[in-house]
Amino acid sequence: MPIELTGYRGWEGKPRGSWRSVWAIVRSGVLMILRRWVFWLLIGLGLLNFIFNFAFIYLKATLTVQNEGMAQFLDNYQVTGTGEAYANFMQAQASITALLLAFAGASLIGADYRQGGMVFYLSRRIERRHYIVGKLLTVATIVTMITTLPALLLFAQYGVLSKSLDYFIDNPRIIAGIVGYGAVLAIVQSLLLFAVAAWVHRAVPLVMCWLGIFVLLEALGSAAREINDNRTWLLLGIWRDMHRLGEWCFGAREASRPPTSAQCAAVLAGVCVVCLIVIVRRVRAVEIVR
């Protein structure tokens, strides 16, 4: 493989702004995940859930035309069409996303510390903030692709297959709920993943930490609530907090006892702020020259 600079040509274009480079970080990160078949196992699980719901809406629409009694029977189960149904769908999708992120975090962020990705990014025409925003948006995009986007598709499908398009006009809260719950999932999970992966770079410890945050904390919260007979302890369960806030986005009735949506929002906001501080401290540009 000889090195031959004959005919070397320079580049004379005008460089674009640094914020445009954030999109390149997002695209390469998402493509990296989509190119690995291991991650497709989990993405496939999410797709199965989506296809199940998609088929159910189609079946219901067909039955509504052919046998209205059967359609009313199916309505009793509220599997589709209602805010609660979309919230449950998104929670199921979010569980798959959390599992995917637990494994993908080591490649998306941990590898930047282990294999010099940080050096690669920060020695270019971008600042730390562009790198951090790029990585956060990468995770948020993956979360949105598996939770919000399918939910919006199902909403659109349900509306289109309804008797009239009034479904869209009558249910603006559902769209707000999907977008709101999706935003909660994307923001919290992206910040949490970045903060954890910035400390724990390898896959196995990262998965353990991730499970600790979502499963162990929830179990600890439940146990503390039993012992102290104080429901405020339930706020420790970040997963439950996200779902509670998501339900609030869909317009669910506010609980009279803790944890309330406001308390959940406060806890999640606190977690996000801590994560952001950790991230900023862990991404140090000066490390690129050793």
Partner: protein
């Protein structure tokens, strides 16, 4: 316009002084940077890349202020780190194109340029392989491709030949020399291998314990040493050596009885050796100007 202009630049990490009073003015071309571990080379590179604001002093790289123009500065500079700098999972061409996009190139331009640069560097057949599957030598070329994809005016290269076999090293040095001489690129080569600098660079910066001990054209630094000669003779040289000493020449006899090193004062003509030898009826067999290699220059400047 100078390529790099630093004036009284100092930098402290807490109480540790990493750089002290660095004042250099380097012209475009190939520049070598030598220094021991912990001498301050990395800090200097960080300052030149706009990653660290110096505690004291001012300066400019390619006319851009080293204070406050970090990202803009890095847009005109290509950096090839010594450590691995890969994004796992990306193919070679995607990695180089991503580097281009991060330097502000539009996607299409970056991709086209990535193909071109990989082709120049002899990686065209491996461009669709994932970067983690590359050999050490190929990774070095890939890092260089990522550094030069946006066609920077200045390339900062940290140990570019580390881990390369002799052929690979030879190719890399030829490439760097060609970039500097034929394609008008400026290079700053930070390395411990003085031979690499000797072969590629025309200027050198010698850093030691946070201070710049020597800076300038290698030929000029050698010229500072041109007042030294190795003299060989036959017979007794006592009178001759006395004549030299009385003429202001510092004479050092190194073990051998028929040889000495003579350091002559400014303006001493070489023919004066022969005039003195004729006067003392003495046979001077050899007058050899001392040629200093870069290693000797380095050691001499460090000691002073």
């Amino acid at each position: 316009m100078s390529l790099i202009e630093l004036h009284d630049v100092s930098h402290h990490y807490g109480s540790v002084c990493a750089l002290q009073g660095v004042t250099v003015s380097l012209q475009p071309g190939a520049i070598g940077m030598i220094g021991q571990n912990g001498a301050g080379k990395s800090t200097l590179l960080k300052i030149l890349l706009g990653l660290v604001r110096p505690s004291h002093g001012t300066g400019a790289v390619l006319g851009r202020n080293i204070r406050g123009s970090g990202a803009e500065l890095r847009g005109s500079v290509g950096y090839m780190p010594e450590a691995e700098s890969m994004v796992p999972g990306l193919r070679g061409v995607d990695l180089v194109a991503l580097a281009g996009e991060l330097c502000g190139m539009p996607r299409k331009h970056a991709l086209r340029r990535a193909h071109e640069v990989l082709s120049y560097l002899g990686l065209d057949e491996a461009r669709y392989r994932r970067s983690e599957e590359y050999s050490v030598g190929m990774k070095q070329r890939l890092k260089l491709a990522a550094a030069m994809v946006h066609d920077p005016e200045l390339l900062l290269l940290d140990e570019p030949t580390a881990g390369l076999d002799p052929d690979g090293r030879d190719s890399m040095l030829s490439l760097l020399a060609s970039l500097a001489t034929r394609h008008g690129k400026s290079l700053m080569l930070s390395t411990h291998l003085l031979g690499d600098i000797d072969r590629v660079c025309s200027q050198v910066v010698i850093v030691d314990r946070g201070r710049v001990r020597g800076v300038g054209r290698i030929s000029d630094l050698r010229a500072e040493y041109r007042g030294r000669f190795r003299l060989r003779w036959s017979g007794a040289a006592t009178a001759f050596l006395e004549s030299l000493r009385s003429g202001g020449v510092a004479v050092t006899v190194n073990g051998r009885p028929d040889e000495c090193i003579a350091e002559v004062p400014e303006g001493w003509p070489t023919r004066r050796f022969f005039e003195l030898a004729r006067r003392d009826n003495f046979t001077l067999r050899e007058v050899h100007p001392q040629e200093e290699d870069l290693e000797a220059v380095y050691h001499r400047l460090i000691q002073t």
